[in-house]
């Protein structure tokens, strides 16, 4: 990890968003820190708010959802205070994003090369042949076979894996410092997923890029991330190094998530489950949002627990992290 630059690449502080001005809260006082040159994973189930977090950072929230409070710093710049033109100048240049479904996020009536050149023209003032050559170079970088020919392809002529390579080429076109990847391999087959993850990792290492990797898949987290933030019902419940999360999970939700995952090495074991379901937006009480499903819940959980340090750079939002790991109720499936 890069300790030379003291300022984190991305810092989200107490970020809250909600539906309209009065509607229910969706993200609730979210804190995450992405250090320069590292891969931070954000893991959570559907409805945990992880994709919305990405959109908030990029300033791409749908009109119905508004930021209620908090700060988002890209290095020293507070993104939430920027006017639209200033944000547009950053988006695609300082920070870029790739999405889950490359078919719907690429323009179906534009050739691949034009879509890459658009970024080059906008952010790097490259025109004509220079833009075309740079587009080919970018396609080479994302290991697109036969880039001289594929630059003139339309998205529908490409496979899912190839489309995701194009998305990555577009994201890289502005030479971003921060890449936000929202479920980049979820729609792909496992052999193609492996290729794309490998590619993201290679580019991240070569460029020293910082990556915010959003996924529901703990396998992808294990494979790719330096540090991890676990989200549940619009809140970050735990944050730590990938080893902390897998070996010393402090929050009962993190422990439940890890235990409910089928593993090849575990064979035909009986899976642990988390009873109940994620609360709907607007149905979260004032206390710990996981308490209704938590086997260790106590009256103390009626107060919302703050993220606090439970180990070196390991944070958890639970009134009794670790303490009751030996509690037999924590072990029973």
């Amino acid at each position: 990890m890069n300790t030379a630059s003291a300022l984190p690449m991305l810092q989200v502080q107490q970020l809250s968003t909600g539906l309209g001005a009065e509607g229910p809260e969706i993200l609730s006082a979210v804190d995450i820190t992405l250090n320069s040159g590292e891969v931070l994973g954000v893991v959570g189930e559907s409805g945990s708010g992880k994709s919305l977090l990405a959109l908030s950072i990029m300033g791409l929230l749908p009109p119905a959802i508004s930021v209620r409070g908090g700060q988002v710093f890209l290095q020293s710049q507070n993104l939430l205070q920027l006017q639209a033109p200033a944000l547009r100048a950053l988006r695609g240049k300082a920070m870029a994003m790739i999405f889950q479904e490359p078919m719907t996020s690429l323009n179906p009536v534009m050739r691949v090369g034009q879509q890459i050149s658009e970024v080059l023209r906008w952010h790097r003032s490259l025109q004509g042949e220079a833009a075309r050559q740079e587009s080919i170079a970018l396609l080479q970088r994302v290991e697109m076979p036969d880039p001289q020919r594929q630059i003139d392809a339309y998205p529908h002529e490409l496979s899912g894996g190839m489309r995701q390579r194009v998305m990555i080429a577009i994201a890289l076109a502005g030479r971003p410092r921060l890449l936000i990847a929202d479920e980049p391999t979820t729609a792909l087959d496992v052999t193609i997923q492996a290729q794309i993850l490998e590619l993201i990792r290679k580019i991240q290492r070569d460029d020293g890029m910082s990556v915010l990797l959003i996924t529901h898949d703990l396998g992808v987290i294990a494979e790719m991330c330096d540090r991890v933030a676990v989200m549940y019902a619009g809140r970050v419940v735990e944050q730590g190094t990938v080893m902390d999360i897998f070996d010393r999970p402090a929050h009962p939700y993190t422990r439940g998530l890890l235990a409910s995952r089928p593993k090849i090495a575990a064979g035909a074991n009986w899976l642990c489950t988390i009873e109940g379901t994620v609360p709907a937006v607007g149905q979260m009480g004032g206390g710990c949002s996981f308490a209704p499903r938590c086997k260790l819940a106590s009256p103390d959980c009626a107060q919302r627990p703050a993220l606090r340090e439970v180990g070196p750079s390991h944070l958890a939002a639970c009134v009794t992290p670790f303490e009751r790991m030996s509690d037999p109720r924590a072990q029973t499936p």
Binding site: A222, M243, P262, I264, A266, G267, T273
Partner: protein, 329 residues
């Protein structure tokens, strides 16, 4: 296996003709399933894995004759049901059911849960309305849904609960065989674990036989007794689950397992991943389907069809080079 399989496929094929385009020459059909042999013993779970387009869902549908095969035979308790007429098939269908992936698309949104679960009973004329109501209640208990669910509509339930409704529907006619087609794939991991455990409990209590179709190898590992790996319309390897994951033989199975993300950050992938995209299943039907991506392919692999070769009891591999002993892994 010496006992008669509950369900068996012999040389099963399904080719889909492609629409003719004006003045264009006819394109060859898509060989979605192209010579599949499999046997599932009573009470067993056979996992069927493979990537998109490999024909695993088509195989599941063919076994239930929800679609008609182009060739080959389907046997139920040794009886050929491939040519059974509608009336004959109807009685067979009571014994064979399917649970689909999408708990949103597979339940009629205008029907209450009580009607949804009772529908198969009504269609097959089972019991009167009073006995059906009590059966629906028992089914609801079986899948751990509260009685209050009966009067509600599918949209009022979460994905996991909807999948329980789908399972209750599939169980209504007391089938012996269930095809679970990506039945837990749309669910979050904590809910997925609940539904996997439920399927295992139901199998134990009701002596069910499953064909469990999934692209998720870890889920298949967890639930299956035996596993078959499919690639472009063919089964390339079949083995007891332990053996398949401990000693994968076919180069494709090995590539598939090597592509899985790590269970733990200390076990990250260090080896190169398999290159290339999945080809479309419309090849000329000659040779090994995996040959063009296989690191061990030789010229014979492009022209000669591999047949199953037994490498250990119950462990069969369709690879020419393993069969002739020139490739040992």
């Amino acid at each position: 296996m010496t006992t008669t399989p509950l369900i068996e496929a012999r040389g099963l094929r399904k080719h889909f003709e492609r629409p003719r385009r004006f003045l264009a020459p006819a394109e060859p059909p898509v060989r979605a399933v192209d010579g599949v042999d499999l046997r599932i013993a009573p009470g067993e779970t056979l996992g069927l894995v493979g990537e998109s387009g490999c024909g695993k869902s088509t195989t599941g549908r063919l076994l239930l004759r929800l679609i008609e095969p182009t060739g080959g035979a389907i046997l139920h308790h040794g009886q050929d049901i491939t040519r059974l007429d509608a009336a004959g098939m109807r009685s067979k269908r009571r014994a064979m059911q399917i649970v689909f992936q999408d708990p949103y698309g597979s339940l009629n949104p205008r029907m209450r849960v009580s009607e949804l679960i009772a529908e198969p009973l009504v269609i097959h004329g089972v019991g009167d309305s009073a006995s059906r109501a009590s059966r629906v209640q028992r089914l609801l208990d079986l899948v751990s849904l509260p009685s209050s669910a009966l009067q509600r509509y599918p949209h009022e339930f979460s994905g996991g609960q909807r999948q329980r409704i789908g399972i209750a529907r599939a169980l209504a006619l007391e089938p012996e065989f269930i095809v679970a087609d990506e039945a837990v794939s749309a669910l979050d991991v904590s809910v997925q674990a609940q539904v996997i455990n439920l399927l295992r409990e139901l199998q134990r209590d009701l002596k069910l036989t499953y064909l469990f179709i999934s692209h998720n190898l870890a889920v298949v590992r967890n639930i299956s007794d035996r596993v078959a790996v499919m690639y472009l319309g063919r089964i390339v390897e079949v083995a007891p689950a332990d053996a398949l994951f401990a000693r994968p033989q076919h180069p494709y199975t090995q590539a598939l397992l090597a592509a899985l993300p790590a269970d733990h950050p200390a076990q990250r992938r260090t080896h190169a991943v398999i290159k290339g995209d999945l080809p479309k299943p419309d090849a000329n039907g000659l040779g090994c389907r995996f040959a063009n991506r296989c690191p061990h392919a030789q010229s014979q692999c492009l022209t000669q069809d591999p047949v199953f070769h037994q490498t250990a009891p119950g462990h069969q591999v369709a690879c020419l080079r393993i069969a002739d002993g020139s490739l040992t892994l």
